[in-house]
Amino acid sequence: MAKTKHIIPPYSKLMSCRILPVFLKKPAEKGIFFLKKKAAENDEMNESKLIPSMIVPALYAKAAEEGSEYADKILAMEAANLIAYWPLWEAAGVNADNYEGTAARDGTYVGATLGQTGIGDGHTAPLFDGVNDTCEIFTDSLSAAFNGEEGSISMWMRVANVGVWTDGIQRALTRLFCNAGNYAYLAKWSLNNEVRFEYKSGGVGKYIKILGIETTDWFHIGYTWTKNGDLVKGYYNGSPIEEGQSGLGAWACGGLDGTRTRLAADFIDTNLFSGYLAHVAIWTKALSDADMASLGTV
């Protein structure tokens, strides 16, 4: 079942609007639903009589409860090409909400410790223990929406402790895996202090490294690929890591593989990440440098 998108601008922008923006989606609808319910209880009230001054505070309260300005930024960025966005800010439960709005692309937490300190957007993030925690994100809906030829991934990561950087284990952040010759992969690498992005299409692998990372703080990583533009690029805290790589192969894939498409793990039970992840989003378009720069700041 499709959910509507959760697009809502900051309160200050809402207050400056004389007419409610037409793109208000889920939080707005929830607020309206509440008021509709009230209206149903009182025959004198109907939707046509609702005025923005009544609705806006309800919207803002709902947005404050559910969203954040950072989430709004993701939702507003190339919205037509955003296919999944897991903020990972749940405090309980096994459902990892796809905040993009398509319920069929919700993820499932397995073992993660929810409710840990987040990136600074007022929300929490999950800790993955590096032993047996993951978040399953494969769904038929995601597989159908994913575009191996054009796309982007954005996420925030933080290792559990400084020792993770030198533990010699390749720890997956996410792999969108079709087959051995076609996938997009982000991992804390087995070599010290390194994160790698790999995009493989038609058996041709292109990979980009971030070297010398020692931080135990949150940082942002992004990755884009475009067959039309013949370019893959990686980003660290919003900045391009290098010029990018060209010579991409032809993506040949019948759909994502459910056993290897997940967060914080690879394959079924291997290469589990030891640390925190937040705000994982996937687009079917290569975002611009400016977009990634924006995503690299809270």
Binding site: V110, L114, V131, N132, I169, G205, D269, T270, S274
Partner: protein
């Protein structure tokens, strides 16, 4: 009740026995509807499919040799008196090897039976790091 990590290793079972054991292990745990996912029993399986590490909420008495022997006898529908066990200590925690017509299975309580989750977690991580070739995939790019 204590949340910690345990490991099981097949030492001489046939596949059908191992599958039966792993399926039974996945059903263990005393808090599998807990709102926090980390309290629910969850697991990973070694690359060769012959060992499993799981984490969940358990009572310490669930993992004594006697209770394990009784549990195994029920899983495999054998007389518990035909199962014996030998205990050992490792740097990762105490182990118990269960024997019936030869060693069949080894169990480890990471960090020990009365340890904290943090200690158990550290021991499980250390074990995995020391045995990474058996548990992790390494790619050369």
């Amino acid at each position: 009740m204590n949340r910690q990590y345990y490991g099981i290793e097949d030492l001489g079972m046939v596949k059908e026995q191992r599958d039966m054991l792993f399926a039974a292990l996945k059903g263990l745990g005393r808090n599998n509807l807990h709102p926090k996912p980390n309290y629910r029993n969850h697991w990973r399986i070694r690359l060769d499919g012959k060992a499993m590490i799981f984490e969940g909420d358990f009572n310490d008495e669930d993992w004594t040799v006697d209770s394990m022997t009784n549990w195994l006898s029920q899983v495999f529908e054998v007389n518990p008196h035909t199962i014996s066990a030998s205990l050992a200590s490792t740097g990762y925690g105490p182990t118990a090897t269960f024997i019936r017509n030869g060693a069949k299975m080894r169990m480890i309580a990471f960090g020990g039976l009365l340890t904290s989750w943090q200690e158990s977690h550290l021991k499980a991580l250390a074990y995995l790091k020391a045995n990474k070739l058996e548990w992790e995939i390494f790619e050369e790019l």
